[in-house]
Point group: none
Chain length 226, copies 2
DNA sequence: TCCGAGCGTCAAGGACGCGTCAAGAACGGC
DNA sequence: GCCGTTCTTGACGCGTCCTTGACGCTCGGA
């Protein structure tokens, strides 16, 4: 399911957007101000953010920059502001697209599709099935098998496994893993990583005491070794 | 150098676009019709295409579909057509963005930057791999190999190696290395450098006693000789 | 020839990060 | 409201990495 976050202070428009998008089978959360937007984006891994630039608390550009600090999620900006420099500012802050109110719903939907289409290959181009002599991971189906037996992973364990397995052989810094799985405020909680990797190794590694696939690089981060 | 293809039948606008984009240090090719656009896109690996929808020979949507048949290059569509369904068609055909004429040049440039920024990580712009006859260093994956064997570097060793290898051949003053790796208060602790470079040479140099790649310039600093 | 500054080497200590375990808190399903 | 799962939090032992000091070497100048 594709998850969208709608950030819009005008209640009527917020409802209209949510209804229209849900009718297209997107899963939609809505918030009404910038602080809530940042909290929501930190708590949940959305596939796309639709955001009004005129928010009551924060400037839209600040919200974009806040999100861009740790996430590459596509952001489509809605705005009644016509001035060029505002579009330029928003786009340079990290927005992916800028739609001027009043806008046609069909156009917005097309831009949502375009943004999602672009983001797709970046995330899922490498095979959604990862296979090693010890275990098989199907990222699309969210299933893992070890020695033919199905292994159950909790949501957080999946999130971690995915973050590593998506870039085989590459070292992923602890801070990046924490930001990606728990959110930007958890970058110091390295003990989470220790606890969860212990669990993941117990479930997937042939010899959990001596990891072969989920490798710790002391002081740096973790690495998935295919 | 970033390479752009401009597809526009109006000669005046084509020239204006080319001049503006070149002033921003993009490398720009221009063509005047759809057939030439397809030929050019096939012949050269452009980083982005800016395309007018109203072309004399082919419909712009067909050109987009033609390009999308084999390339994922970002496409920004320009058009005087206001109707929503035309935007929807172009976006669904694979366009990344749709700008309605008349448009502001600053806005177009911002959208160009946004599109290029998105495409960047997928292509892997700068080569983070440093190769010498004796060893290979992959800065992105944080891996080092010597004679085919993997060599493990500690966090501080990585930091130092990176600081030097990023600027091949140039002499980096000791104070700068110390400030960059340990912080500004450590600029006098040159013994740190001696200890760690001894370690790094032991791990990477063919003959650690007589360094060939990590060179000391007495009294000045250190240099990486590729 | 002697001397000193700067560099390379080595080894010991202490600090830090990691793996492990377990218990309490939050969450969701019934 | 209860129960099982999942997440959070704390404590402890251990290994690795960083820091620090001592010593020998080379090279240039007195």
């Amino acid at each position: 399911m594709t998850r969208l976050l709608v950030v819009e202070d005008d209640q009527a428009l917020r409802r209209a957007l949510a209804i229209t998008l849900r009718a297209r089978h997107y899963e939609v959360d809505t918030v009404g101000d910038g602080a809530a937007a940042l909290r929501a984006a930190a708590a949940t891994a959305y596939d796309l953010v639709v955001m009004d630039l005129g928010l009551p608390d924060l400037d839209g550009v600040e919200v974009i920059q806040g999100i861009r600090g740790w996430s590459a999620v596509p952001v489509i900006v809605l705005s009644a502001r016509e001035a060029q420099w505002q579009k330029v500012d928003a786009l340079d802050a990290g927005a992916d697209d800028y739609v001027t109110k009043p806008f046609g719903m069909d156009e917005l939907l097309a831009r949502v599709r375009a943004a999602l289409r672009r983001a797709e290959p970046a995330e899922g181009n490498s095979a959604p099935i990862v296979e090693t002599p010890a275990f098989v991971i199907d990222l699309a189906a969210k299933r893992a098998h070890k020695d033919g037996r199905e292994v159950r992973l909790t949501p957080t364990e999946w999130h971690l496994v995915e973050a590593l397995v998506r870039r085989p052989g590459v070292l992923v810094p602890s801070t990046q893993l924490l930001a990606e799985v728990w959110g930007p405020h958890y970058e110091r909680e390295t003990n989470y990583l220790r606890v969860f990797f212990a669990q993941i190794r117990r479930k997937l590694e042939p010899d959990p005491g001596r990891p072969r696939y989920f490798i710790t690089e002391p002081g740096l981060g973790y690495r998935f070794e295919p």
